[in-house]
Symmetry: C2
Subunit: 312 residues, 2 copies
Amino acid sequence: MNVTKVTAFAPASVANVAIGFDILGFSVNALGDRVTLRRAPGGKVQVRAIRGVVEDLPLEAEKNTAGRALQALIESRKLPFGFEMEIDKGIPLASGLGGSAASAVAAVVAANALLEEPMTRIEMLVAAMEGEAVASGSRHADNISPSLFGGLVLTVGIDQPRVKQIPVPEHIHAVIVHPHLQVSTKQARAILSRTVNLSDFVWQTANLAGFISGCYTGDLDLIKASLEDVVIEKQRQALIPGFPEVRAAALARGALGCSISGAGPTLFALCLETDAPAVRAAMVSEFASRDIKTDHWIVPAQSGGAHVVSCE
Amino acid sequence: MNVTKVTAFAPASVANVAIGFDILGFSVNALGDRVTLRRAPGGKVQVRAIRGVVEDLPLEAEKNTAGRALQALIESRKLPFGFEMEIDKGIPLASGLGGSAASAVAAVVAANALLEEPMTRIEMLVAAMEGEAVASGSRHADNISPSLFGGLVLTVGIDQPRVKQIPVPEHIHAVIVHPHLQVSTKQARAILSRTVNLSDFVWQTANLAGFISGCYTGDLDLIKASLEDVVIEKQRQALIPGFPEVRAAALARGALGCSISGAGPTLFALCLETDAPAVRAAMVSEFASRDIKTDHWIVPAQSGGAHVVSCE
């Protein structure tokens, strides 16, 4: 085993995807985090540096999603060594683009390349979920799974997670618009009612099942009819000034659906590739009319997951 | 147009399928209802006879699911004629096997053969849903759609329903066990809480998405892990003596899942064809140990929908 230093990249991700709260997400590899690891003596994790678009993250391993994920890995594998870590953040803090998940995933993928016996992908998922729990207060995989596996990913179960990559019709693209507002995941979760009306439950489950069936069968009419969140969005939209108008503008330009990415404030719209530029322009313009600056990307709805980018 | 008398058959169905409350169901064509129609003068529906395993149903068309479905059709199509109807019930009353839906579907399918311009399947669905509302108190399609279309069917939306037939792996069969108890749909709906805990909501949606993905990809492990109702079953099982033991017996014999068919008291288990006889025997035996008699069937999980059986 000659590898002593590994860098891995893990993409951003859009969690929830309107109809799959806490269970569904898709990767967005236009941006992501990089983690560089070296083996270190003793079963500890030392965070040497955090650079990039976010710098004020905790350097204590326990409080850092990547650090905690590595500690979980050291514990579960009973590793006789630890890690020195540098994190290069490409995903803005509290943007709703899965930055904490991406750091945890990149750390686990890099660590995997330093192990004598590589992990299964589910093992990596479980370790990364432990890291994510530091940021969001509970274990869930709706950002972790797409960042790790790539594409649109469903996760069923927490203790014994099962993962399914769901095919998305190729000509569907995602417009991602990040308004320069900050929403913390904990705040966005705290705002949610602890119960769902039975009628909303039925409606949302119909939409979820319709969206997934539409993806498997390439049924754009069904995808468009189903891609509507009737449970979470109405509770969280108050955190995003102009949300109803931005969403309406996206739909008016032909988007199949438009909702909040994860806990927000980033929004996403799914649309045909040919409609994507007009959808993006309409969304950006609505935010601009409220003096809210944005970053924005157009990406295929299906992109790759985390991977090692260099080994020494 | 020379057809003057038409008989149509519509199969029984298992609604909800554990994880698709009010949106999912599969047809069970081992039993079903037959409706015979003749054109009659004036835009009225006259119920001439109700025969078979159920006889004490209302003869007033307005109160009869098949009669109401035909009235809805007469109104929407502005038909200049009405129908004389005879109903042969093959589905026991209040069994949870979609008897009221099957009568409505058979009536609409028979009526279709007497029209100058045939209906689309969605038009038939909408008319039959109007009939079903008489029995259950609200419009929903989880029995109507599978009885009409056949197979495992998802319905998204009520006012503009969209229907998707979901493929089930061929070697999956359904064990259907009808204990001789009566549960009214209205009673079974009244028992339900009007809200769902957010954590149960997430769990159930994960299971729904997992089950559907498992069906599209033939993933038996995922189907088995996902086919569990964490929302409705725990509220309704009190209506069915011995439910937990019957379910446990089915799972112990290898069933992929076992839950309540529609509003109950019929139970269904999905299992591999080779396991079906043992699963059935275990379920029947558990009921028998409580002095509860049963009828029972083993059927492919995928079977045909409603159809015309004779024309004169």
